[in-house]
């Protein structure tokens, strides 16, 4: 594009800065409050600069079981990430590179399941887990999501189909079996889409709320979202503590976001996320 006229550029920047302020202000104010002592918040004006800034709210979260919730959330996300990606890679390879009866019909079934919304399956999944005696277990948190995602399979299949036949045949001729081919040929040449899927999977699993809320109870397998919601309803007026809790739920993804920012923006557009 040719260089824009000055006044136009100023207006564009004004719009962009306004947008950034509206986007960031709630985060900044919440963070500020999380570093304010409960006493100062209650006696002074709520938006005053913390004097002095304190970590007391974060320390109190430790007592409220947030350390454990952070660990459970991390473990849940890691387990689902590992299971979902490996099952999806295997399935995508079968759909992309093998020929077998029923392949196309099955692929169509996988695609159709993209239409099954999470808010509809929560109730029946709850019954199924209850019948299996798995309420309030770690397995209940991960099982429904760990066996691969039709969306990931769909996306990977497109990449796997584009890999040159010669590359794969050469590996077979060297005596590699299918698993070797997948691990040493297919996966390295699909690195961008794998990174995309990893980021999107981590973000969406970290966001989980409704399912953990209904299938777990008590502190044992409480994830961060459920712990934050519980804290919010128990200490409704203690905003300094509650803001620290939401900061703990948000910040780990923010860190991921800062590290992979260019990639995340690209990933969202490629996958549509969720």
């Amino acid at each position: 594009m040719t260089s824009p006229k000055r006044p136009a550029a100023v207006l564009v920047y004004a719009g962009l800065v306004l947008g950034a302020l509206i986007t960031l202000a709630p985060f900044a104010l919440g963070l500020l409050t999380s570093f304010t002592s409960a006493h100062q918040f209650a006696t002074g004006t709520p938006l005053a600069w913390p004097r002095p800034p304190t970590l007391a709210n974060y320390a109190d979260l430790g007592g409220a079981g947030f350390g454990r919730a952070l660990a459970v959330t991390t473990l849940m996300t890691a387990a689902i990430l590992l299971g979902q990606l490996s099952s999806s890679v295997l399935a995508a390879y079968a759909f992309a590179r093998l020929r077998f009866p029923g392949r196309d019909a099955l692929f169509w079934v996988y695609l159709a399941t993209l239409m099954v919304p999470g808010s509809v399956t929560v109730v029946p999944l709850y019954l199924m887990m209850a019948q299996l005696g798995m309420r309030n277990t770690f397995w209940a948190l991960v099982l429904p999501f760990v066996f691969g995602s039709p969306y990931a399979i769909f996306l990977l299949r497109q990449y796997f189909r584009a890999i040159p036949d010669d590359l794969i045949n050469a590996a077979y001729l060297d005596g590699a079996n299918t698993l070797d081919v997948i691990v040493h040929v297919v996966m390295p040449s699909s690195r961008p889409v794998l990174v995309t899927l990893m980021l999107i999977t981590v973000v969406s699993q970290w966001h989980h709320f409704m399912w953990p809320l209904v299938i777990t109870s008590g502190a044992k397998w409480q994830v961060l979202t459920v712990a934050t919601a519980a804290l919010q309803s128990r200490y409704n007026a203690q905003w300094t503590l509650v803001m620290a809790a939401s900061a703990v739920a948000i910040v780990p993804l923010l860190a991921l976001f800062v590290i992979f920012q260019r990639h995340i923006v690209r990933s969202i557009v490629v996958t549509g996320l969720k």
């Binding site: 079934v109 066996f147 919601a229 948000i250 923010l254």
Partner: protein
């Protein structure tokens, strides 16, 4: 095209069959057990009564009659419809405006683009808790700045627009990314030709950019409707469906019915109805989008 059938006697395809199904086994189990079976189970449950603990008993169409004649569910569908009707147009128009600004590609645009997606990356539940403080009537951020209290979340007339605004705030940057990708995909020659013909940038936006964004627009609208119709976390933490069910979105109603009132049968009826509505919307989408459109932004 080669046919599998003609080579049935050879070893290779048969080995491929065993191998194919072996590779599919984990995901096939997941798809059948956790996506297809639940659909059958929820239909079955809609014909039964269960209180989460006791035995499950068959009640025929009783749940269906009770839910469909019940004003709570009707209210919830209406609230969801209103919510979708506020959120989707608002986030689409604002997202398009933001994308138009970002598309000028001034220095620093990349940083703004990244900043705007932050609310979308953030945990929705935590976002809702954050906004609950911002909007708190006595010691919240907005009341402090304004110097007087406004019952943002407990005033029956304000609650739904305010909840919608929070969702729009969280989604705008995400929607803008798709429009930005769409705008950047428009060949530069079209714009420069129009500029040569004396078209202003305003005219070019309405006559070139907007018409050429039609596929993006459709994608953004349809996915926007489907996800807005399922919002749960934000309303759970902001209002709990109140005041007097004024923000009782359908996903929240299903939750409240199932795990608040322990009426699993009734909740299942609502889930089936929601499913049918969403399927209908998705089928419309697929009629328009036979081929999936993917964008690349680098």
């Amino acid at each position: 095209m080669t046919s599998v059938g003609t080579t049935a006697g050879l070893a290779a395809p048969r080995r491929s069959t065993a191998l194919g199904y072996a590779l599919l086994a984990p995901s096939l189990f997941g798809v059948v057990a956790f996506l297809l079976l639940p659909i059958l189970v929820v239909v079955w449950l809609s014909l039964h009564r269960w209180d989460l603990l006791g035995p499950i008993e068959y009640v025929g169409g009783q749940n269906w009659r009770s839910v469909l004649s019940d004003s709570t569910f009707g209210n919830s569908l209406l609230v969801t419809l209103t919510f979708v009707a506020i959120v989707v147009p608002a986030q689409t128009v604002l997202g398009l405006a933001v994308a138009a600004l970002l598309a000028r590609d001034l220095p620093g645009s990349g940083m703004f683009r990244t900043l705007y997606v932050l609310p979308w990356i953030s945990v929705p539940l935590a976002i809702a808790v954050l906004w609950r403080w911002i909007l708190a009537p006595t010691d919240g951020a907005i009341s402090t700045v304004l110097g007087h209290r406004i019952e943002w979340l407990t005033d029956p007339g304000l609650a739904l627009p305010v909840v919608s605004a929070v969702v729009v705030w969280a989604n705008v940057g995400y929607v803008a990314l798709f429009f930005l990708a769409g705008i950047l995909a428009i060949p530069a020659e079209i714009h420069s030709a129009a500029r040569t013909d004396g078209a202003t940038s305003w005219q070019r936006f309405w006559r070139i950019t907007l018409p050429m964004l039609r596929p993006t627009m459709f994608f953004v609208l349809v996915t926007g409707v489907i996800s807005a119709a399922q919002v749960f976390d934000i309303v759970y933490a902001l209002t709990g469906g109140g005041p007097q069910n004024h923000t009782d979105l359908v996903a929240h109603r299903i939750y409240a019915e199932a795990f608040g009132a322990a009426a699993i049968g009734r909740a299942s009826v609502m889930a089936v109805v929601l499913f049918v509505i969403l399927i209908a919307i998705t089928i419309v989408q697929h009629l328009y989008f036979r081929r999936r459109i993917s964008y690349d932004l680098t």
